[in-house]
């Protein structure tokens, strides 16, 4: 089975400066991978690189079977990037925004409606302009856009930020269902407890380089006994 993400010594630029300094990473179809690391480690840069927004200047970088160095545009239409910016038009309503981005991605109108329902945006909020939403509601609308696009690779940068507990559970449920349906998810988060429970594997990035990979408890519980012992250290290995 070909990996959805295949990086070998990948170096990408942020402006004129190297932001990723030789990243190695493989992510299989249907996998949920947690990306962790300190502030400024390169998590957001890696997600933007995987989305085809930052140029890869050396190494191997393939996403969804496309070479990021030569065919980044083919990747972009198949990924869903939830970044720090909500990527919404303030003057339009929630429904206008979700429908516009869904139609741009050639998703069905029903997908846009379903996404709004799933994120609790189907009532009064759907006709409220984004400028009048709270930060948490804006985040929900941004997640609805990502969901409505039905991407094959979900790239989520701090998806739980600004959300209440109930909505965080909803988001986790959406991510699990997407992965069960075959989508691949890479999630960067500082909420390690929640994100570790969600992900099957975690990787740590420091200084633009992947340092460690470990299977999370949620995955190990079903597969091995190392994690069944509370004090057991998670298996740590170089990536790949």
């Amino acid at each position: 089975m070909e990996p959805v993400v295949h990086l070998r010594s990948a170096v990408s630029l942020l402006g004129r400066f190297p932001a990723l300094a030789g990243v190695d990473l493989d992510v299989d179809p249907g996998e949920i991978v947690l990306l962790q690391g300190p502030n400024g480690a390169g998590k957001t840069t890696l997600l933007r690189t995987l989305a085809g927004l930052l140029p890869v200047v050396s190494g191997t970088a393939e996403v969804l079977g496309h070479d990021l160095r030569t065919d980044a545009k083919a990747v972009r239409r198949r990924v869903g990037l939830l970044g720090h910016a909500t990527m919404l038009y303030d003057e339009l309503t929630v429904a206008d925004n979700v429908r516009f981005w869904a139609r741009a991605a050639k998703a069905r109108p029903a997908d846009a409606e379903a996404a709004m329902v799933e994120l609790g945006l189907d009532g009064r909020l759907r006709d409220v302009t984004v400028a009048r939403l709270s930060a948490g509601q804006r985040r929900r609308a941004a997640i609805a856009v990502t969901v409505a696009r039905r991407p094959e690779l979900w790239l989520l940068d701090e998806p739980h930020a600004g959300l209440d507990a109930a909505t965080r559970d909803v988001v986790d449920g959406l991510v699990r269902r997407a992965a069960d349906a075959g989508a691949t998810v890479v999630v960067a988060s500082h909420e390690l407890e929640r994100a570790t429970a969600l992900a099957g594997r975690s990787v740590t990035i420091v200084g633009g380089v992947i340092e460690h990979a470990a299977e999370s408890e949620s995955r190990s519980e079903g597969q091995g006994q190392a994690a069944s012992e509370p004090d057991a250290e998670p298996e740590v290995a170089r990536v790949p």
Binding site: A51, G52, L53, R76, R77, V79, L81, G83, H84, A85, T86, M87, L88, Y89, D90, E91, L92, D96, F100, W101, R103, A104, A105, K106, T129
Partner: protein, 222 residues
């Protein structure tokens, strides 16, 4: 491509319909410019009447600058430019859609300015086909060039001041051509105005073709 253009144009016009920037800010600005011209040039001396076609198109260019800046300001906010790059929309479709939305707003402003010129300056003209064709060709040209230079300036920190510096010299042929065509219509010699309409049409077509191909790389660089 045309599906994407319709989608983007619809979105931009919906943004304008909800924010009403063109109606509440640009249109009053345009009328204010006309009034100030009337103060500066004594209507009784005949100078104002002779200068009306040029003043009208200068006011249109000022409005166009505001409309173009607005069209790209909404994409600069909150990561929307990245969203456009990720959207899967054809760059040529985005270009044509934004161009169409700017042209539609300009057309409305031109009608308002035309009414202002008639009411404030007492101007009149008999060559309506020439006037209408001039407006259509000039509007398309301004929108085509403006959309191209708008995305070029959009990624720069000094975009508000840079756009007029880049765009106004480029639009000089539009100003000259449309003014001459309007003068011909006013003077009752439409035959002298049609070649200028041809020039405006060539300008619009050239920039539309350049824009359709050049918008994508400029969006990537901005």
């Amino acid at each position: 491509m045309f599906r994407d253009a319709l989608l983007v144009a619809g979105k931009d016009l919906r943004v304008e319909a909800r924010s009403r920037v063109a109606l509440n800010q640009v249109a009053p600005f345009a009328l204010l410019v006309l009034i100030l011209f009337a103060f500066a040039l004594d209507p009784d001396s005949g100078v104002l009447d002779r200068a009306t076609p040029g003043l009208y198109w200068i006011a249109v260019l000022f409005c166009a600058l505001l409309a173009i800046q607005r069209a790209f300001a909404i994409e600069a906010a909150d990561g929307n430019r990245d969203a456009l790059r990720l959207s899967g929309l054809e760059p040529a479709g985005i270009y044509l859609g934004k161009m169409a939305a700017i042209a539609a707003q300009l057309a409305v402003l031109e009608i308002l300015l035309g009414l202002g010129v008639v009411l404030l300056y007492g101007s009149h003209s008999s060559g309506w086909p020439l006037l209408i064709c001039t407006c259509l060709a000039a509007t398309a040209g301004i929108a085509a060039a403006g959309t191209l230079y708008g995305v070029l300036a959009a990624g720069l920190r000094v975009r508000e001041t840079l756009l007029p510096l880049l765009l106004l010299p480029v639009l000089a042929p539009v100003l000259i051509g449309s003014t001459r065509a309007f003068e011909a219509a006013r003077d009752g010699t439409p035959g002298e105005g049609w070649p200028w309409v041809g020039l405006l049409a060539v300008f619009a077509l050239t920039y539309t073709i350049f824009g359709a191909f050049g918008f994508g790389p400029l969006l990537e660089e901005s």
